[in-house]
Symmetry: C2
Subunit: 349 residues, 2 copies
């Protein structure tokens, strides 16, 4: 490599004594179509190879007005729920010839707004976003640019944007019903980010399940305000020291359940003898916990697959087909963290 300079069409053209156009045609596989002589084609190819030519995608994108780049914005890359989705999206994207720019919104609407703006300036062809979930105006503004977008895990009823989410309502019901079947009456709900659609739907499932069984709704058993470990810890502390200690806790995210466990063990209580718990979103390690955790499993791979498929569809076709609101089923994974209360005890309430 005598020359550190990157090869360009121009350089190849000069060496091959042909025009830039010809080189471009050969190298983008249009030799056939433009009926370029086998001989020139060979020469061009040889020189391109010698020079290790790689097309400059920037220039290409500028000209084509297509970057073959998508953006993904998630609230916490290190949360295994989101990283599983991101992984899936990246792998499928590459297969389709796209690269992905990743942004961590840190569950913060301002950072989310900034990320959207940045991705816009970088002219992504489409965007997958797990929105923080409190505001949607900025997303609405973005849709005006006619850049395809699909929201994942959370959605906005106000917004006409394709989305894919778990069946949060049903999943929540499954969990609460299971508690009730096992004799629990005082069931707490440690929620995630209030007002986000995930949380709303799960909360609704919780409330409806209680109601279906004619159980009273006790607002003091609903605690927490975001999906993090901290919030789970604090919420549990409050519950355990409150006037009406619950017999069961429904933790609405994997991180929340970790915080709950921390608080529970700090209070010298054991699962499920002293308190039962179910977590939303299964994780590989839940099987190996002190008490294997009963969870509501989400099909993360499917969620990732569907979201990128939807997005690529939007990008590559103008079909205004419907059915762009997809929900993915959940599954109650029964392990050992829920205690069966005896009838007498359960009636005692």
């Amino acid at each position: 490599m005598p020359n550190n300079q990157q090869a360009t069409l121009k350089i190849i053209a000069e060496r091959a004594h042909v025009s830039v156009t010809t080189v471009s045609r050969v190298l983008s596989g249009d030799a056939e179509k433009c009926r370029i002589s086998k001989k020139t084609e060979d020469v061009v190819r040889r020189i391109a190879k010698e020079l290790h030519y790689e097309p400059n995608q920037l220039a290409r994108a500028l000209r084509l007005k297509q970057t073959y780049t998508i953006g993904i914005i998630i609230p916490d890359i290190s949360n295994p729920f989101f990283s599983s989705i991101a992984r899936c999206v990246e792998i499928e994207s590459r297969k389709a010839g796209y690269s992905v720019m990743i942004c961590d919104s840190q569950e913060n609407t301002e950072i989310e707004k900034e990320s959207i703006k940045i991705l816009g300036m970088r002219k992504i062809d489409g965007m997958i976003i797990c929105p923080v979930g409190k505001e949607w105006k900025h997303i609405y503004e973005f849709t005006k640019l006619n850049i395809p977008i699909v929201t994942v895990d959370r959605y906005f009823p106000e917004l006409n944007v394709p989305y894919v989410v778990s069946e949060n309502y049903d999943g929540s019901m499954q969990a609460v019903n299971y508690f009730i079947e096992n004799g629990h009456r005082r069931i707490a709900f440690i929620q995630g980010l209030t007002d986000s659609s995930v949380n709303n739907d799960r909360l609704r499932g919780y409330k409806d399940a209680l109601q279906m069984h004619n159980l009273p709704l006790n607002e003091s058993l609903i605690v927490g305000d975001n999906f993090g470990e901290q919030s789970g810890y604090i919420g549990t502390k409050i519950l355990l020291n409150g006037p009406e200690r619950p017999t069961a806790i429904f933790a609405v995210s994997n991180l929340i359940s970790l915080g709950a466990m921390r608080a529970i063990s700090e209070e010298q209580l054991t699962i499920p003898d002293d308190i039962s718990i179910i977590a939303f979103d299964d994780q590989p390690y839940f099987n190996y916990l002190c008490t294997p955790m009963t969870t509501v499993g989400q099909r993360k791979e499917e969620i990732g697959q569907i979201s990128i498929k939807l997005l690529l569809n939007e990008i590559n076709s103008d079909d205004i087909s419907d059915n762009k609101r997809i929900t993915v089923s959940t599954e109650l994974i029964v392990r050992k963290s829920v205690k069966r209360l005896t009838a007498s005890l359960s009636e005692a309430y």
Copy 2:
């Protein structure tokens, strides 16, 4: 928004009846320097705002030969070790005005090569890579392009590239010493990707610790060949059913330890009564396992911070300073997964 067309300098220039240059100068903050009249400046700014102008970073990058984009290649986005690093890198990058393209090499050298090529074509300003670790020629080729690169978690002695890694050798020693202090003699090692630097260093630590204590090295106690859960499971199965069942297992990654636990519980054994275990790389949930896991903790945040700092340094300065090989200390986190063997038993070996 009467017009769906994105605003450009040209459009603004026309409306403001000035040249594109002037608009460019105003909007990139060079108004002062170029002594543009307050009046024109105001007009330009007003129109830009009206039209919601956002610079096209593609065009900018093409012209400037700088994309303000970095690439990150990791073997598994969903592995919390890597996703913690990725998160850190993304957050710090953005603070510095950079965006990040993410690639998952799936612990596969071919995909890694492809990813590097793709990132090259996209003209990233720098790259952070946790290489698969078996081959380095392709990375060497990339360095010839004079695009800064830093390797993380794994390095190549052959390569003169900045890197940041945990003190794998010491961490491994800490773990094995701890086993030995507790009376263990038959200590197995479930390794990760053979020939990767991480694995080499940890293996060396293991061997040296044994030797320091005059313990024999038993090759049949070294199993496994990659960092995944599967490998941990299989390795453990083999160990537990082998002729000389170990009393202790050192699992060299968080995923391996998960697989080990699966095998152990399948064999109806309990930790630490039947078998002791230490995992490399601490995770939040290790505290809540059936038997809280003793681990070798890595400072993931620091690793992420340092790597991006190193990279930005390389990008923004031509200083050929040294000290670009940084190792980050590890810490033995003692919990409950190692049993203290009685002297009599331990001597029995």
